[in-house]
Symmetry: C2
Subunit: 308 residues, 2 copies
């Protein structure tokens, strides 16, 4: 069997990297097990304007800075995908896709969550060129534009509420015949104006030249295709946290997010923490993820002192 | 009466500034009421090595970057000290030392906490030159050195536990005849070795040339002065959150920290949030403060949409 690490961090976005920086500074013997560095922001095509200290920075540049910061510390990195985490006594056993096994006394899950994709033609082509998975992040880029929000749940309505600050006109497209968002959100969207709600709308494709120009949806009542001219599309059909590998040790909410105590980000299992987009936290921001990474690393350090 | 702001932020350290960046980006009409910019880290004499994205940066440089980031947004700043906050209906009334009054729908308290000073000769002279108020921040600078921790409560014992990673030898000085730290902490300090506990020790003064060389304390049993050669002094006699002005609207723990729900940092009063060092959060770090600022601003924004 391998050596027993003090801490294994699964995933290396802002939350995981910050946990690594803190853990290393406290001389915790730390191993990252991660497919890649950067998480969601590494793939972001638009600039980040709300990570404090950087007025405007691309996602990839910010990740580069975080990675350099981490490299100045002493954490090890194993490039692999975690497929299972178990606990035996006071040790965690982390198994990977490449059939490796690692042991540790604490684990921080920072595996993020990917927005559920639309899976329609045009989606991949226009990511970062009109298609966004985060209204809070990208909303300000659509000042005085027309946008469509795909998804009539709370997420979609909240996107639309947020976008009334910027957009000239907003469409919400909902596949079902009924809106699922809370009454409060529905009332608010109505009160704020600007937003037109279209139910029974099945998105067919996204069209454009360099940027998004329009979306085509099928009206499920009339079975006819309709076109909407839009400059932007916000995807709000939920997310898919990559957390199945830890299912035996944590509780999930109905969105498969890991339930934690927010002060420390501890899960229901002692020594096991979940930070950033994979937990139930309401606000999925780079700086909130980083803050949680620091909290979990310091909490893991405290726990380690107790058990060792 | 003045106009009614969407948000008033009290204090402008990392937590308050981040809240301001987030609030401005959401077009909240925001006013800072603060004596100064920077909070505790603005005064820090040692480099910060654990704010993700900056490998090593002075406190004042980091604050400058945060301030510039905030200035690129649209928040107003009133340089004044808040002396009272009241709530009337759904509006907050914020009163200042200069007898001004401001109204808002939401308030974020980010007024920080100052470590309680020792108030002995030599303290002010050697701040940043051997005297530290934060072991987690400055501990790594004392690798293989001898340090004294002043204060035999949990804070002091936790500082000593942390310092066993770095220091060669640690003294804990406690004024009383009994140690107040938890049994767990006491056991752990014993187990880790390196630390000598001195009770009945009244610190008299700190001496040195360019840096701290020694401390002089009175043995309260023998009434004799004793000298200890040390390279560093960690002050761990509690902190004084500057939160009295909000006492009618929040609950405090016994350290006068404001009790919040950690997911949003909301206090017991709707629309009123407390972030960073002034709340009960266990880990007082720049990045955790910043993360909380973002959470509270987004929560305040949500609340504002509901009531407006």
């Amino acid at each position: 069997m391998n050596k027993v690490y003090d801490l294994i961090i699964i995933g290396a976005g802002p939350a995981g990297i910050t946990a690594g920086i803190y853990a290393s500074r406290q001389k915790m013997n730390t191993l990252f097990v991660t497919k890649d560095f950067g998480g969601q922001i590494g793939k972001k095509a638009v600039d980040i304007e709300n990570y404090p200290g950087f007025k405007k920075i691309t996602g990839s540049d910010l990740i580069k800075k975080l990675e350099e910061h981490l490299e100045s510390q002493e954490a090890l990195v194993e490039r692999d995908e975690v497929v299972d985490v178990e606990k035996e006594g006071d040790k965690f056993l982390v198994k990977t896709a490449n059939k490796k096994k690692f042991e540790s006394y604490t684990v921080i899950v920072a595996s993020g969550a990917d927005p559920r994709p639309l899976e329609v033609p045009g989606e991949k082509e226009f990511i970062g060129r009109g298609i966004s998975y985060c209204a809070v992040c990208d909303g300000p880029l659509f000042r005085d534009k027309t946008v469509a929000v795909i998804g009539g749940g709370n997420e979609g309505f909240e996107d639309a509420i947020f976008m009334t600050n910027y957009a000239r006109k907003i469409y919400i497209l909902e596949y079902g015949s009924k809106i699922k968002a809370d009454e409060t959100n529905q009332e608010l969207v109505k009160k704020l104006g600007k937003t037109e709600i279209i139910t029974n709308a099945k998105l067919e494709r996204i069209e454009g030249d360099k940027f998004v120009d329009s979306i085509i949806y099928k009206d499920l009542k009339t079975k006819k295709d309709k076109e909407l001219k839009v400059d932007g599309v916000f995807v709000a059909i939920g997310s898919q946290p990559a957390t199945a590998f830890v299912k035996g040790l944590v509780l999930f909410n109905k969105r498969d997010e890991i339930i934690v105590k927010y002060e420390t980000c501890q899960t229901k299992t002692e020594g096991l923490y979940a930070v950033g987009d994979c937990n139930t936290g309401r606000f999925k921001q780079v700086v909130t993820a980083a803050g949680e990474g620091a909290k979990a690393a310091l909490a893991a350090y405290g726990y380690l002192q107790e058990i060792k």
